[in-house]
């Protein structure tokens, strides 16, 4: 039994989280924002830990995004 990516709503305060996420980028250049996102992804990935869940998340995030032809 492999762990599954939780996709039901789990955020206790979605609006607060969203605001915090956008606020975290306030005043940053494009490159700094990219760096922040990368650090955030690494921190959260480690928190999740389970590679199967992470692969599922990567696939879900990629879904529907087409490579330019």
């Amino acid at each position: 039994m492999t762990a599954r990516l939780a996709t039901e709503s789990r955020l206790t305060a979605p609006d607060d989280f969203y605001e915090a996420l956008i606020d975290a980028h306030r005043g940053l250049t494009e490159d700094q924002s990219q760096l922040l996102n990368a650090r955030l992804i690494l921190l959260l990935s480690n928190h999740i830990g389970d590679l199967d869940v992470l692969r599922e998340a990567l696939a879900a995030a990629r879904m529907g995004i087409k490579e330019p032809t």
Partner: protein
């Protein structure tokens, strides 16, 4: 001394005009070719070894030799010299800018004969190997002999060899191509190695200096003395230090190897006042690639000729020497007529996955050190920054995952476990070393294994061993030597003196092999585990030997 070892001599075929007839011809007298020639000689096989050059390698080239390689060199009779001349190290440090991010110990566990790594210039190793090879008196070593034509038939391989005194013809049963990454033999057969070229350049310098830096592998990301790039510092024998500077793809290799460009880079790193001399400089790019198969009928490809990796991880020469270790005993058993040709196919079955493992690790390291895209670079920088604060991120930092031997877990030569065993070891894995006490004092398990099949019997605290162990296995068409390990002083028991017997002084055999009294472990001539049982079952043991050696039907029936 050196010149005598590498002296050109006129081949006898040139005087006789006859076609030379050899069982095995090895092409390429680098570390890999030398190792397999020595190994075959130790198995009683006569070898012709040819090399187009007449000297050891120029510059240090391969410098990091792994524990597994040292165990193989021990079996070939030059491990001790290599370790004594080399620089022993276990510790690596990774820096970001001027700050230590973390350090790693590659051999955190005591009780192994050999360290995780030694650093030794390739030319020193080659000299030791040549000297050892000449001692065997079974290898005809010919410098400045270049293979210029090759025809592979079903039953022989025919070669034309060019020398300063003209050319001659040779036929052999088997040809071993250890002729490097640009393998002329590979081209002559119309074969290729395919893979990925990395768009980066590295400057590699051998610097001689007196320095009291600790004997550790130091790797910098973005150091102040070489911003935005990586640098590696590593000590070798004779106060020679290896320094690798990442240059980037746009660097001009011709310009960068000029001393007037190299010396300021080194001064920036070491300080203006430290005296040093520049011994060797090279600028290189690298690729990760391999041939689809390493066996082509009677021709075998080993080392860089078969597969190539980036230098980060020390997986080039080490994996090549493990190729030699894998093939030599198989070829010897087939030439003896006891093993079937299928045994030679297992070279591919075992070493192709080993090459893939090395390429995978090497590619991952290279993607970290030389990010191929902007987003890859961003993640790399993010991981490096986090690593300073959070231990989890240190696991992401990749400055080279250093060579560990491949376990032939899926090998067709393994016998599947019938009994259950704990721990990481599985059939196909290389032996784990253990300190023991023999009748004459301290000993190492690894030294009891190799070059022939060995059955290690764990007696626990029992004072006797089953007769079947000695009678039953020695009568195999392929002899299996028994070795006894247990908890008692074997000199005071009835175990015959000719049976090597050891005390498991620290209990590490029991621990590392999850051994219970009566358990038996069958090791191949390359020290890899072929099969194991909780109790001695002679039929099972015989069939495991027949299986691991691909014994021919007729031989097995005797």
């Amino acid at each position: 001394m050196q010149s005598e070892l590498f002296a050109y001599r006129k081949a006898p075929e040139l005087a006789s005009g006859q076609t030379g007839r050899y069982r095995v011809v090895v092409v390429g007298a680098g570390p890999v070719g030398l190792c397999i020639a020595i190994d075959l000689a130790q198995h009683g096989v006569d070898v012709l070894l040819v090399d187009e050059d007449d000297r050891a390698s120029e510059g240090s080239r391969a410098i990091c030799f792994s524990k597994r390689t040292l165990e193989i060199l021990d079996r070939l009779g030059c491990g001790e010299r290599a370790v004594r001349k080399g620089v022993v190290w276990n510790l690596g440090k990774v820096f970001l800018r001027d700050r230590l991010l973390y350090q790693f110990n590659l051999l955190p566990e005591a009780g192994h004969k050999r360290p995780a790594f030694i650093n030794l210039q390739q030319y020193h190793l080659e000299q030791f190997l040549v000297e050892r090879l000449l001692e065997t008196r079974r290898v005809d070593l010919r410098w400045r002999n270049r293979v210029t034509a090759l025809t592979a038939y079903a039953d022989i391989v025919a070669l034309t060899i060019q020398t300063p005194d003209g050319h001659y013809s040779v036929e052999c049963d088997y040809l071993i191509a250890a002729d490097g990454s640009r393998s002329p033999i590979r081209s002559m057969l119309g074969l290729e190695a395919t893979g990925q070229v990395f768009r980066d350049r590295f400057l590699i310098a051998d610097v001689k200096m007196e320095a009291d830096f600790p004997i550790e592998r130091w790797f910098w990301f973005d150091p102040p003395f070489h911003p935005n790039q990586s640098v590696l510092l590593h000590r070798q024998a004779d106060n020679v230090w290896r320094i690798d500077f990442q240059l980037g793809w746009d660097a001009d290799p011709e310009v960068e190897r000029q001393p007037e460009r190299v010396i300021p880079r080194i001064r920036a790193m070491l300080g203006e006042t430290r005296p040093f001399t520049l011994e060797w400089v090279s600028v290189y790019t690298f690729r990760c690639q391999r041939m689809e198969r390493f066996r082509h009928g009677r021709v075998f490809f080993l080392g860089d000729a078969a597969h190539q990796v980036s230098p980060f991880g020390a997986r080039g020469a080490n994996s090549g020497i493990q190729d030699a270790d894998n093939l030599a005993w198989k070829l010897a058993l087939v030439l003896e007529g006891v093993a079937s040709d299928r045994l030679l196919d297992s070279y591919d079955a075992e070493r192709v996955p080993a090459a893939d493992e090395n390429i995978l690790n090497s590619t991952r390291s290279t993607d970290f050190i030389t990010p191929k895209s902007k987003v890859s670079r961003t993640f790399r920088d993010a991981a490096l920054q986090l690593a300073g604060t959070y231990p989890f991120a240190r696991g992401l930092v990749n400055s080279g995952r250093l060579s560990v031997p491949h376990s032939y877990r899926e090998s067709p030569l393994n016998s599947r476990d019938r009994d259950s065993f704990g721990g990481h070891l599985s059939p196909g894995a290389p032996a784990l070393d253990v300190p023991l006490t023999g009748r004459d004092g301290p000993a190492w398990l690894i030294d009891q294994l190799g070059t022939r099949f060995v059955a290690v019997y764990y007696a626990g605290s029992h004072r006797a061993i089953p007769d079947a162990l000695i009678e039953g296995l020695r009568s195999e068409p392929v002899a299996v030597e028994p070795v006894v390990v247990g908890g008692v002083d074997w000199s005071a028991t009835g175990v015959p003196a000719e049976i090597p017997a050891f005390v498991d002084t620290h209990g590490l055999f029991a621990q590392r092999y999850d051994a219970t009294p009566g358990a038996i472990y069958l090791f191949r001539p390359d020290q890899h585990l072929a099969a194991r049982w909780r109790t001695l079952d002679l039929n099972a043991a015989r069939s495991a030997v027949a299986h691991a050696a691909c014994l021919r039907e007729t031989a097995a029936a005797i």
